[in-house]
């Protein structure tokens, strides 16, 4: 099982009010892709993740595989599974490349 886990050295936080504002705007049909809802503090620099990125990040808790994450987020977004899986895989590959996520290869 390849479970996804966050780099434990990264300090992060959900910006709750901003997340709620983004959810409200999404509900109203507005574009929110560039709006940060999760902040990551890495080596004194701040980075942000948008709503989908923040949700993925939140689920990378060392207990879930990619498939688990896709299944959970399918309940939140009205899209085809293959499309969502591709988007999530691309995002995760980017963060693994940056060293912010990794796969836990240990078995149960």
């Amino acid at each position: 099982m390849k479970r996804l886990q966050r780099n434990p050295d990264i300090v992060w936080r959900v910006e709750k009010r901003r997340q709620q504002a983004v959810l409200d705007r999404l509900e109203a049909g507005e574009e929110t892709e560039d709006e940060g809802t999760v902040i990551l503090l890495i080596s004194g620099m701040m980075h942000q993740l948008n709503l989908l990125g923040g949700m993925i990040w939140n689920l990378c808790d060392g207990h879930r595989t990619l498939e688990h994450i896709v299944t959970e987020l399918l309940q939140e977004f009205d899209v085809e599974r293959d499309l969502l899986q591709t988007d999530i895989q691309t995002f995760i590959d980017d963060l693994i490349e940056r060293g912010w996520l990794s796969y836990d290869q240990s078995t149960d």
Binding site: V11, R17, I39
Partner: protein, 334 residues
Amino acid sequence: MTNPLTEQFSAPLTFNWSLSYRCNFTCSHCYSREEECDELSTPQLKQIVDVLVKHQIPFINFGGGEPLLRPDLYELTTYAREQGLNISMNSNGWLLDAAAAEKISTAGFRSVGISIDSADADLHDDFRIRPGSFDKAVNALDVLADAGVRTTMSSVISRINYRQFHDLLDLARKYRVPQVYLHNFKCSGRGFKNRQELDLNPQEWKEFYVEALKVKEETKDLLISFDDPVIASLPGYADNSLVKGSSCGKLSLNLRPNGDITPCGFIPLVVGNILRDDFEEIWYNSPILNKMRNKEAKGKCQGCGAYEDCLGGCTARAFATTGDLSEPDPHCWK
């Protein structure tokens, strides 16, 4: 990745927390030496940690006063670490021997800063009015490094050291310190009383920062950090700060030993108490914090091209010398 966050954060990222104003030193520039304040019990301190966890405030930096004078420091730190908070501390190093370093390591401190004012032992001791304090401070750096604790060196720039800051950097290298903070001089407490003797004039500040920024750019083996918004207009200033102007009230808040919250340790305006008041109400609606976040250019700041970057410089210094949060920083050379 997304656009820069321009709206207010949902909570500060750091609480600078004085558990006590008691100290075993009486330094000439200290902001808190003449402060008196009730201290809280260990259960009350843990309640504060719970509040910080609830509001997802990730960093605590203990200062003071000397944090190591509180015997429950390790218990409190362990409690905070267990809940995922990141803890650091500033100390004068006097009480920090090998046994203390091991306790600090076990308690999970992320880093410990030791205050050193001069690489000249006699000058440091004179300034701290405590013979032997230099030797204790550098020994603290050594035993912390031996215990695997990341160290930093904190040096408040003043008339006694501004021409010799290179020596402070060499001292850091000698004692395996990866990061040096060259702090700006605050006109608070004894720093206010002794500012004629210790503070630089604006032109001297400019000359110091121009050189120090150049050295920072050229230095690869040591991280050199500043915390002075007045430098935002200088060449070599890398704009990687999360906010413009002073970070107080935007990224950080200060906790006094009785739980009172102030925007920073150098601004004695209480905006609420963390145990008695609703934290979100303070954070979002404090008139003082909102005034600091929305400063209006006054005096020579009006029409100055640097204002949008420095936002008037250090708000604490402006307040200390004029009583007005929006007045220009007295260190400004423009």
